[in-house]
């Protein structure tokens, strides 16, 4: 049987190094270094004091298959995920055709299984064709082989309050969660960048914070009345954090994610007019980014999600208004979290496990992800060298597209190995 010995890892970056034996897809034993006998044929990973965490779970990934296989496929996206330390990703529904029916979600799920580098969980659309007008067949998708656990029209807001109310109510019977892309469409007609001093001066049509906050507030109220679970995608504004804190205080069953880019980058980048920095929701102010980091540390924002969004060169190397919004994220997420949260002391490695693995697994209801590092638990693991640094080059990332806003940046923390159910999916920057 497939056995791996991780020698001298520090669990959650705490305490003395231990040896972790992985067999039959689970953690078979944890013990003092050198005590365990190395089974014959076992693969040995010399951890040398590196940090071992449960494998990461990304609630927000765009894998582009079916429809835009020129920018990413389930295979290349799975590689990027494994190299980034992920053992499960949620593939958003805005493909072509849209993942609003059992056929498409089962295709995505099956391709993920065939490739086998990361658990690919398709997100189902909330409304047919992402059009916001009538519900997609949520129950059929939930009960399909893909076992859809999360629904979202991401890229579009479920703007109609009646449709959103019904989606929340309906999903209570399915045990699923509705993830909202919070963007009031009437307040963001033609919007190109965060509405603020910089966008005004540079002539960008503004995307006001209130367009996010008003939808989050409305949806929290709707979720409360429906007794439903709401997840808020990519929160980006100070006001949204205030609304979330208020709703959680009332006991609303709401969770929220923040992207790595909203933790680090700001609308200062608008001055370049380079659409590599164009994303939706837009990069906001330093004060907003600061608040995102604080809210993630405090738990008001539950987790990190990448919003990994590959785009072709021609859709980025153009004038800003013509460019598609979005940026790569799977292979840089850990490093951005290390840079923005771990280095300043806002999170320790146990905290990283919480925001990148445990909470997202709980939110999506994955029973075998985000589990404790303990004997008998599934061996979905990531080993991190916290002291190593690397320089980001879009062309070297596993994604077919190369649209990273971190090009040329030197960042901390490197994934040494990723294990999915005991099998090594990535090691030292290479697949398998």
């Amino acid at each position: 049987m497939n056995e791996v010995l991780i020698r001298g890892a520090r669990l959650y970056g705490e305490g003395e190094p231990v040896d972790v034996l992985v067999a039959d897809g689970v953690i078979a034993g944890i013990g003092a270094p050198g005590v365990a006998t190395v089974p014959e044929g076992a693969e040995v990973i010399e951890a040398a004091g590196q940090v071992l965490l449960p494998g990461f779970v990304d609630l927000h990934t765009h894998l582009r298959e079916p429809g835009r296989e020129d920018t990413e496929t389930i295979e290349t996206g799975s590689s990027a995920a494994a190299l980034g330390g992920y053992t499960a990703v949620f593939a958003m529904a805005n493909t072509d055709p849209v993942a609003d029916n059992a056929v498409v979600v089962e295709h995505v799920w099956r391709r993920g299984r065939e490739i086998g580098l990361v658990d690919v969980h398709p997100v189902g659309a909330v409304t047919a064709g992402l059009a916001g007008e009538r519900l997609a067949e949520l129950g059929t998708m939930a009960k399909s082989a893909a076992g859809v656990r999360m629904f979202s029209d991401d890229g579009h807001c479920v703007a109609d309050p009646l449709i959103m109310r019904r989606a929340l109510e309906y999903s209570t019977a399915l045990g699923t969660v509705v993830a909202q892309h919070a963007e009031e469409p009437r307040l963001t007609v033609g919007a190109q960048a965060h509405e603020g001093e910089r966008a005004s001066r540079l002539g960008y049509t503004g995307w006001p914070s209130s367009a996010e906050e008003s939808i989050v507030a409305r949806d929290c109220v709707l979720a409360r009345h429906a007794g439903a679970r709401l997840h808020v995608c990519h929160v980006s504004t100070t006001g949204t954090v205030d609304v979330l804190a208020w709703a959680k205080g009332l006991g609303v069953d709401v969770s929220a994610e923040v992207t790595p880019h909203h933790l680090l980058l700001t609308d200062e980048r608008l001055a370049t007019y380079d659409p590599i920095n164009k994303v939706n929701p837009p990069l906001r102010t330093e004060a907003d980014a600061e608040r995102m980091r604080q809210a993630l540390a405090d738990g008001v924002v539950d987790c990190v999600a990448t919003d990994h969004a590959p785009h072709a060169v021609q859709d980025k190397d153009c004038e800003w208004a013509a460019a598609r919004p979005g940026m790569l994220g799977l292979q840089t997420a850990l490093s951005i979290v290390a840079e923005t949260m771990v280095r300043p002391g806002l999170l320790d490695w146990r905290g990283v496990a919480r925001v990148m693995s445990e909470r997202p697994a709980e939110i999506a209801g994955l029973p075998d992800q985000g589990r404790p590092l303990a004997e008998g638990e599934p061996a979905n693991l990531v080993l991190i060298d916290p002291d190593a640094e690397w320089t980001v080059h879009g062309a070297e990332l596993a994604s077919l597209a190369g649209n990273t806003p971190y090009e040329g940046m030197r960042l901390p923390a490197v994934v040494s190995a990723t294990l999915l159910r005991g099998r090594i999916t990535a090691r030292e920057g290479k697949i398998g």
Partner: protein
């Protein structure tokens, strides 16, 4: 100077040099039967307009021709743009075909910056002839030239810009240039037509045109599209006109020697009364006339200034 993309960041010395050159060119050409200088002979200038325009395109074309440059006009319709060619490819094509200077108008803010980046290798100069709601630097330069001429200078002069500042590249370029040249700028508009964060600009802000008029040296009226009422920027064209239009009664509140400007195209009866537009204190046709000289000056500084290095 390699490109002219914005007036923001344009140094006072550079701006003044451009305006002085424009004055000199105007004097040189005054009364000449043949209005043609040989300065840019052998240079190729391409205008690339992705939006409709009468005065700006024609003004640049005349400016180039009076300087003896070869001027070629490309518009979005009737070119490969209509076949889906990207802005980048169109620009690289024009540069490869030998354009020394590309004069671009585009609906996307920042388009001129992007062009300058793509054309860096080719060494082609870029003039921003209006990018989205960002800037329109030659308009601000011709406004400054007109105001200098009428007022004798800009230092400490009080100038109001009235109307749809939010959507106006003319307003942005004027705010920066006028502030750089030492003028006091007042923006007058309903709150819905002022950009977020406008209070960080080097201006004062007012919603009361009547209160501002008596202290002004010049008033610049911006075009206000009646369709803006569909975005609820104001209730009706009528209400806008009553509150912010420069009609004859309001004209009497202005000091006698104050100047009225409008970048055009005007909507007579909306933001400006017909009689006001045609009044002697209106400098609207002078603005157009000065536009040619200012654009000649810009082409001169971009294409002839360092000619020795380029050849």
């Amino acid at each position: 100077m390699r490109h002219l993309l914005t007036t923001e960041g344009l140094a006072a010395d550079d701006a003044t040099a451009l305006l002085d050159t424009a004055d000199e060119l105007k004097r040189t050409l005054l009364g000449r039967e043949v209005r043609k200088l040989p300065t840019l002979r052998g240079r190729t200038v391409v205008t690339m307009f992705y939006e409709n325009s009468t005065r700006t395109r024609v003004s640049f074309e005349i400016a180039g021709k009076w300087m003896s440059a070869d001027v070629i006009n490309v518009s979005a319709s009737g070119s490969s743009v209509g076949k889906g060619e990207s802005l980048r490819d169109t620009a690289l094509t024009l540069a490869a075909a030998g354009a020394d200077c590309v004069i671009a108008r585009h609906p996307a803010s920042g388009a001129a910056h992007r062009l300058a980046g793509w054309l860096a290798e080719a060494g082609t100069s870029v003039v921003n002839a209006g990018d989205g709601t960002h800037e329109h630097p030659t308009q601000a330069l011709l406004d400054a030239a007109t105001l200098r001429e009428r007022l004798g200078g800009l230092k400490d002069r009080r100038i109001a810009i009235v109307g749809d500042v939010l959507h106006s590249r003319v307003a942005r370029s004027n705010v920066h240039l006028l502030a750089t040249l030492g003028a006091e700028v007042v923006l007058v508009a309903p709150p819905t037509l002022l950009p977020v964060g406008v209070r960080s600009w080097p201006v004062t802000v007012s919603h009361d045109l009547d209160a501002e008029l008596p202290a002004l040296d010049a008033v610049m009226m911006l075009r206000v599209q009646a369709e803006r009422m569909h975005g609820a920027f104001f209730p009706s064209a009528r209400e806008y006109s009553i509150a912010y239009g420069l009609n004859e009664a309001r004209l009497r509140l202005l000091p006698e020697d104050a100047v009225v400007l409008h970048p055009g195209p005007m909507l007579r009866g909306m933001e400006i009364g017909s009689a006001v537009a045609d009044a002697p204190r209106s400098a609207i046709t002078e603005q157009v006339r000065n536009g040619v000289h200012v654009r000649m000056a810009v082409l001169y500084h971009l294409l002839a200034g360092d000619g020795a290095d380029r050849d």
